[in-house]
């Protein structure tokens, strides 16, 4: 959400809608046992869908079961997580490296499931980091972030990471245009110096590995959201852009002057062809590429420089601009691939464009004018229809697969259901409050599962017990199986649930990993057998090669450490059973605990600064003897002669 004045009007409207709806709807629902039974998943039973929610400013991703709304997991992505050592252990620290150095936080916005034939396939989920532009890939067999790539020449990685039909690419459009390459210029030279880069990240179809394949150097607009085409339109990606005025100050006023902003339609197949023909220029661009490896249980961070850049002016047919009323946010492609719904946050209607009409308009050259050589198509020539009077602040649309679109209305806090083809509004329902994105399971896919729409709300004032100035954000689940939408459930979320996607559990559950096999553990500091534990001094570095299994550490008595040493605890969990991690915590450690999965090795660094005896213990309740899972390490003075000694297994 962009600016303050939407916020103020939002609050006024919230107040009004609260007034209108609070009495009636609340009392209705509290008596609605039918709604309760529809979201009741009996203890011990599993939900039908995995919901993958962004944590927004938490920088993480959260996993909820749907329809119950039960929180299943927080997956650390861009932010350090002391709970399990993410970004604190030596193995995970490289995941948070960037060209700016180690960054322990980001703002995570849009989860995107990997696709096969434009349907979620359950292999990976991608998510963008907005602030220091990055895209992360999470493996859905381990629910762990296994790759993060930084996006150079970009700033505010918002229209990201949306993926093409078969996950050939995930795209990343810059929200803020910046000088490219970035340089010291007066901000008032925006129009001349600032550019908007759209990045195309190629995804290896077997292992998911990402590669920054090319960028398209676009005019200096703000690129907000994106979707790829499907079926006939599968070779295209659509980006919404605002600030076509190219204002550089007070955007809340100055970027809303033009009647029409744009949707940029990009032919990525053609881009590949131009790339092959050598039309791209090699340009600088520093970035980091961080990859996790399950065999060594560690990440590596590689510094990279340089990117191939395509200029639309050199590449006819690569980009067309579709005029779109006032500051479009969502530009969402229906399941057939024919219609593109543009939600202009400040517009009084939702225009829906036709892909086939767009093709025709291109052939017949129905151009109104151009921006920096990029043709602007005639609005009427590409328009399929307009949804009239949908509400205030249309933001994002998803589809149910039964011929209807559902658009979130930020300002009027409601979801509006409209019919594809007739463009008439057929139903509307309030949300509590200020809905941003919405989500239908498979709602961006060729074959949506439908059933539910989830509202992702920014404000919950008066909905829950108050908790001081900061209140939770929320999600609301509505039944969309009938003609009328029906509110079933309201649940608080972790961070800001900016956007979410959902996938049927059958596509994920059978592949869920239970353990890491000890025999595959290739960590250079692994200890695969209790009899091989050791403590090794290398100058002032001491390496403790330790094992854990219910319920003891080996060694659990260590002496000969000195003040000023740097102690690496290389801990291998010898368990080979599901759901038996061990934790490791040592008094005075200035980082976090380590939480080590079965078969895995993780390393925590500890710098003893005082002499004495220091206990360490297991922090994850692992058995009845968990409380006995402990040990001692003795720290002597820097000049002491105490030799390294430790106990070991047989």
């Amino acid at each position: 959400m962009k600016t303050k004045n939407y916020f103020i009007s939002a609050i006024i409207i919230i107040a009004l809608s609260a007034y209108f709806y609070s009495c009636s709807s609340k009392s209705d629902l509290s008596k609605d046992t039918d709604a309760a039974s529809k979201v009741y998943v009996a203890p011990g039973s599993h939900d039908e869908f995995y919901g993958l929610f962004s944590g927004g400013f938490s920088g993480q991703m959260t996993v909820y079961g749907l329809p119950s709304g039960r929180l299943l997991k927080v997956i650390p992505v861009f932010s350090q997580q002391a709970e399990n050592g993410w970004g604190y252990t030596e193995e995970t620290k490289p995941m948070l490296e960037t060209s700016y150095g180690f960054i322990p936080w980001d703002d995570a916005h849009h989860p995107q499931l990997s696709m096969t034939n434009s349907n979620p396939d359950g292999r990976w989920v991608f998510i963008n980091g907005n602030n220091t532009p990055r895209i992360a890939r999470i493996d859905l067999s381990s629910f762990r972030t296994t790759e993060i790539i930084e996006i150079p020449n970009s700033s505010g990685n918002h229209s990201s990471p949306f993926c093409t039909e078969n996950t050939e690419y995930v795209v990343a459009g810059t929200r803020f245009s910046v000088p490219t390459p970035n340089k010291d210029v007066p901000i008032s030279t925006y129009k001349e110096n600032f550019k908007g880069n759209l990045s195309f990240i190629k995804v290896d179809k077997d292992n998911g590995r990402m590669n920054l394949e090319f960028q398209i150097r676009m005019p200096g607009f703000n690129y907000d959201l994106s979707r790829a085409g499907k079926a006939a339109s599968k070779d295209w990606v659509f980006f919404s852009c605002y600030n076509s005025e190219q204002a550089n100050t007070l955007l809340e006023v100055n970027a809303s002057q033009n009647d029409k902003d744009f949707i940029a339609a990009i032919n990525w197949r053609l881009a590949e062809k131009y790339l092959k023909e050598g039309k791209a220029k090699d340009e600088p661009g520093k970035y980091r590429h961080n990859v996790w490896n399950d065999d060594v249980h560690s990440a590596t961070s590689t510094e990279k420089n340089g990117v191939k850049v395509l200029y639309p002016q050199d590449c006819p047919g690569l980009v067309y601009l579709i005029p779109t009323p006032k500051s479009p946010h969502g530009c969402d492609v229906d399941p057939s691939g024919e219609y593109i719904a543009a939600s202009g946050k400040l517009a009084a209607l939702i225009p829906v464009f036709s892909f086939s009409k767009m093709q025709k308009a291109v052939q017949e050259k129905k151009f109104d004018s151009d921006v920096e050589g990029i043709p602007i198509l005639n609005y009427e020539a590409v328009l399929a229809g307009e949804v009239q009077n949908p509400g205030l602040g249309p933001l994002h649309t998803e589809f149910d697969g039964n011929g209807y679109g559902y658009t979130s209305m930020f300002l009027s806090s409601e979801i509006v259901k409209w019919k594809i083809g007739t463009w008439e509004v057929v139903d509307r329902i309030p949300t509590y409050y200020s809905i941003g994105h919405l989500m239908i399971p498979g709602g961006d896919a060729a074959k949506p599962w439908g059933k539910y729409v989830v509202a992702l709300n920014k404000i919950t004032k008066d909905r829950y017990l108050p908790t001081g100035p900061e209140l939770t954000h929320s999600a609301q689940l509505y039944d969309i199986s009938g003609d009328k939408m029906k509110l079933l459930l309201d649940f608080p979320t972790n961070g800001e649930p900016h956007y979410a996607q959902a996938i049927h559990a059958d596509l994920v559950k059978p592949n869920s990993k239970k353990i890491y096999k000890l025999e595959n553990n290739k960590h250079p500091h692994a200890t695969l057998n209790e009899k091989d534990v050791k403590v090794v001094r290398e100058g002032n570095i001491v390496r403790v090669y330790m094992t854990t299994i219910r319920s003891h550490f080996m060694p659990d008595m260590i002496e000969g450490i000195k003040v000023g040493d740097i102690v690496y605890w290389h801990i291998t969990n010898l368990e080979q059973d599901w759901d038996i991690p061990h934790g490791f915590a040592v008094m005075g450690a200035q980082n976090s605990e380590a939480l080590i999965m079965p078969g895995e090795t993780q390393t925590i660094v500890w710098k003893p600064e005082r002499v004495g005896i220091f206990p360490f213990y297991c922090s994850d309740f692992c058995s009845a003897l968990h409380q006995e899972m402990q040990g001692y390490i003795r720290v002597s003075a820097a000049d002491s002669k105490t030799e390294i000694t430790f106990n070991k297994g047989q």
């Binding site: 057998n529 299994i549 219910r550 058995s623 297994g649």
Partner: protein, 140 residues
């Protein structure tokens, strides 16, 4: 019973017939506590040296954090276990310990004594068989 175990049984039956008894013996069928789990019948004959070698390797990797051969450690000492328990019980204990320590009287007693649950180390059937052979070899 899955296809796999039917096949194994068939092969076993064929083997018994072809050997015609000889010096091999099957475990007595009655009054034996076989425990609970996937293993219903195990055929044990003369000690198979290559299986013992394999079993010893697996034991070193997956069991020594809790078991010693001649001493009580986190779990019971294991020399002599094949005299206390049937081959099926031992393999079920290795492959299915959670259910064993909940439902089998003998295993329940052990758990009450040792307090740490015998770990499920995700041992497949052929490896459990090799481990059994290794434990048998300790008796000689």
């Amino acid at each position: 019973m899955n296809k796999h175990s039917i096949l194994i049984l068939l092969v076993l039956v064929l083997l018994i017939q072809s050997c015609g008894g000889g010096d091999e013996k099957t475990t007595p069928q009655e009054n034996v506590d076989k425990g609970v789990g996937p293993i219903k019948t195990v055929f044990v004959g003369n000690i198979d040296a290559s299986m013992v070698a394999n079993g010893s390797k697996i034991f070193q990797a997956k069991c020594t954090a809790c078991h010693k051969v001649d001493e009580k450690y986190i779990g019971p000492k294991l020399r002599g276990v094949t005299q206390r328990r049937s081959p099926e019980w031992i393999m079920n204990m290795i492959m299915n310990p959670e259910q064993m320590i909940k439902e089998n009287e003998a295993a329940k007693k052990l758990f009450a004594e040792f307090m740490t649950p015998m770990a499920n180390q995700n041992i497949p059937q052929d490896e459990a068989r090799a481990l059994l052979e290794y434990l048998r070899s300790l008796e000689n």
